[in-house]
Amino acid sequence: MERTITIDPVTRIEGHAKITILLDDEGLVQDAHFHVTQFRGFEKLCEGRPFYEMPSLMARICGICPVSHLVASAKACDALMAVQIPPTAIHLRTILNLAQLVQSHALSFFHLASPDFLLGMDSDPAGRNILAMAHSHPTMARDGIRLRQFGQQIIEWLGGKRIHPAWVVPGGVNAPLSEEVRDQILADMPEAVSIVQRTLTWFKRTMNQYREEIQTFANFPSLFLGLVNSQGMLEHYDGTLRIVDAMGNIIEDQIATQRYPEIIAEAVEPWSYLKSAYYKPMGYPQGMYRAGPLARLNIIHSCGTTLADEEWVMFRELNRGAVLSSFHYHYARLIEILYGLERIEQLLHDPDILSKHVRAFAGPNNREGIGVSEAPRGTLIHHYRIDERGLITWANLIIATGNNALAMNRGVLQVARHFVQGQQLTEGALNRVEAVIRAFDPCLSCSTHAVGQMPLHVQLLDAQGTVLDESLRG
C-alpha cells in the first residue's frame, strides 16, 4: 500500500514549506516533494507603479536578503533609464551586496545550520538551535553573531538602516561614502576575517564526521549556474552568465545577462508555489541546475582574492570535476564570506571610493530592463517592462532559491531513500531530510526567521489519505 509522509513545516529555514515523502507498497521511498506553501505575488502587485519605486518595493520581498533585490532591481532600472552608472556607485553597490552576502551566509551557517554539526543530527530537536548552542559552544555562537553583525553593520553604515535601506536607487546610490565609514569598516575587518578563518579550520576538521551526509545530501550530477567576471573569476554584482556541467566543463559562457531567457526557463508544478527554473536547451526537468555558493565556486577559475583562493583550491580538490554534494554548500558559504570580506577591503582602498559622483539621472528611455546579480542563494533576475510614462506593465523575477527548486526536490528524495526506512520515522531521519533543504539555505518567505523551535508536523498516510501515524513537536 502506498503511503505518504509529510513534514510540515520544515524548520530552521527562511520561510514556510513542507516535505512529502511517498512510500510504495513495500514501504520504500518512491517519491518526495518539497512544497513551498506561501504565495507572495510581487510580480503582479508592482504593475502600474512608477519604475523608480521598484528597488525599494522589491526589497520588501525579503527581510534577510533585501539588498539582493535592491541591487538586482536597481540594475534593471538602470537598464530602463539606459544609463551607465558612475564607477564609484558600482563599487558601493558591490560592497553593499557583499556585506549582505556576509551577513546572510553567517545567518545560514551559524544560526541555522551549525546546531546540526555541533549538537549532532540525532540530538534532541528541542535543544538543537542557536540558543542551546550559545550555552554549549559559546565561542562559536559569539563568532556567528559577531560576523552577521559586521555584515549588517556595513549595510547600516552605508545605507542608513540594516533592513530595507533605500540607499540604492535607479542610477546609482543616493549618498556617497564618507571617510569615517570607510575607516570604521576597515578597522573591524581583521576581526571578521579571523572569525571566518578559524571557522573554516574547524569545519574542515569536522567534515569527516559527516561522510554519510556528504554522500547523500543532494549529491548527484547537475549543471551549475552563476555570474563570472571577464576573467572567469567570482563575481556577485555584474559579469556574464556561465553554466558548467558535473565534470566542470563549461557549456555556456559569456552569456550577457540580457540574454537569460535564451538559457533559463521556469516551470510550474501544481504542488508548490515555487517555480522551478531549468536550463532551457535541455528541457524540463532534465535541465536541472544548481545556483548559489556551491555553484559559484564550481564555475570559476579562481576567486580573485588571496585568502579565498587558498581555500578554493582545497575546496575544488573534493571532487575531480565539479563539487557535487550539496552538503558542501556550507563549506562554499564560508569561503564566500572570506572572499566577500577581502573584496570589500579591496574596494574600500579604491582611490575613487569617496567620490561624490555616485548617481546618474534619466527618465525612462528603454521599455524593457533586466537586472541580474548574485544573491547569497544564487543568481537573481529582475526583469521589467514599462509603458512610455515609466509605469510598470509587466515583471518577471527569477528568485535565487527558484534556481535550486529541482535540485532540492531531488535532494530530498535522495536523503529520504537513504535515511527513511519502513514505517518508523526517527528524529535523525526527519532532521536529515530537513537538513538537506537547509544546506541550500532556501529563502522562502523572504522574511526574517523566527529563532527557536517551530512546530514540526509529520504524518504517515496511506494511499487513501488515512492517517496511520502522526507526531507533533514544538
Binding site: G48, R49, P50, Y52, E53, P55, S56, L57, R60, H164, A166, V169, P170, N174, F361, A362, G363, R389, G390, L391
Partner: protein, 240 residues
C-alpha cells in the same frame, strides 16, 4: 482694513493667557505662541478650508468642537487643544485617512517626509482599527516632470488652492463626491495634456503626502520646499 487696525483680544489657550488680533484664527494664535495644534489641510499662505478636521479644539462653555484653522479668536475664549476626547477624535480622523486609500509608507517617495505619517507618529496612532477600503486608483505619470498617485491623496486640496490662489492657473480641482472624490487637472484630462498647467511645481511642493511628487524621486527622497509660500502670498496681497 489692515491687520494692525484690528481689535486686540485676550484669551486662554491651554490655560495660558495670550493676546491676539481679532482677525486671527485660533490656529494662527496658537502657532504664534508655540502651542502645537495638529493640522493637515491648512498651510500658511493659502486660504482656509477646514476640511481635514484634525485641528479640532474644545472651547470651554460650549460642547461643540471647533476647527482651529477656520475659527477666529474672540475676547475671553478659553481653548483646550489637547484632551483625551480630542486625542480620540484625531486618531479616528487619521485612521479614516489611512483606510480610505492605499498608504504604504515603506515604499512611498515621501517616507519620513510625510505630514500624514508625521501626524500619526505624533498622535500615537499605532493601529488603524477601521477596515481598509483598498480602492483601485490610478497613477498619472503623463506630466513631463511630475506624477500624481491618487492612492496617497488625502483630498486636503492644498494643490487646488495653491494653483488657484498663488499660481492663478486653476489647473487642479476636485471631481466626484465623498469617497469617490478625486483631484483632477483641467476637465479631468491627463495632467500631461493640461493646457493650463504652467509646470511651476507649487502643487508638488505643498502636497502633505506622497500623492504629488517629482519624477525620478526614489523611495523616501521626496522632501518639500514650502518656505516660498508665505512670501508669494504676501506678494499676491500687495499686487491685488
Amino acid at each position: 482694513m489692515s491687520r494692525l487696525s484690528q481689535q486686540v483680544v485676550t484669551l486662554k489657550i491651554d490655560g495660558r493667557d495670550v493676546g491676539a488680533r481679532s482677525n486671527e484664527t485660533i490656529l494662527e494664535v496658537a502657532h504664534e505662541n508655540d502651542i502645537n495644534i495638529p493640522s493637515l489641510c491648512s498651510v500658511e499662505g493659502l486660504s482656509v478650508v477646514g476640511s481635514c478636521r484634525l485641528c479640532l479644539v474644545e472651547v470651554r462653555g460650549t460642547s461643540e468642537l471647533v476647527s482651529a484653522c477656520s475659527t477666529y479668536v474672540r475676547e475671553g475664549m478659553d481653548i483646550v487643544t489637547h484632551s483625551e476626547r480630542l486625542s480620540h477624535y484625531r486618531q479616528t480622523i487619521l485612521s479614516l485617512f489611512f483606510s480610505e486609500r492605499n498608504h504604504l509608507c515603506a515604499v512611498c517617495v515621501s517616507n519620513n517626509h510625510c505630514e500624514l505619517q508625521g501626524q500619526a507618529q505624533a498622535l500615537g496612532l499605532s493601529h488603524v482599527e477601521v477596515a481598509y477600503r483598498y480602492p483601485q486608483l490610478p497613477v498619472d505619470a503623463s506630466h513631463e516632470r511630475f506624477v500624481i498617485d491618487h492612492n496617497r491623496c488625502i483630498l486636503c486640496t492644498r494643490c487646488v488652492r495653491v494653483c488657484d490662489e498663488i499660481e492663478r492657473a486653476h489647473t487642479w480641482d476636485v471631481a466626484g463626491r465623498g469617497v469617490q472624490a478625486l483631484v483632477i487637472t483641467d476637465l479631468n484630462e491627463p495632467w500631461g495634456s493640461s493646457e493650463t498647467c504652467t509646470s511651476c511645481g507649487k502643487c508638488v511642493q505643498v502636497c502633505p503626502t506622497g500623492a504629488l511628487f517629482e519624477k525620478g524621486k526614489a523611495v523616501a527622497e521626496m522632501s518639500r520646499r514650502r518656505r516660498f509660500l508665505p512670501y508669494l502670498a504676501k506678494t499676491k496681497e500687495k499686487s491685488s
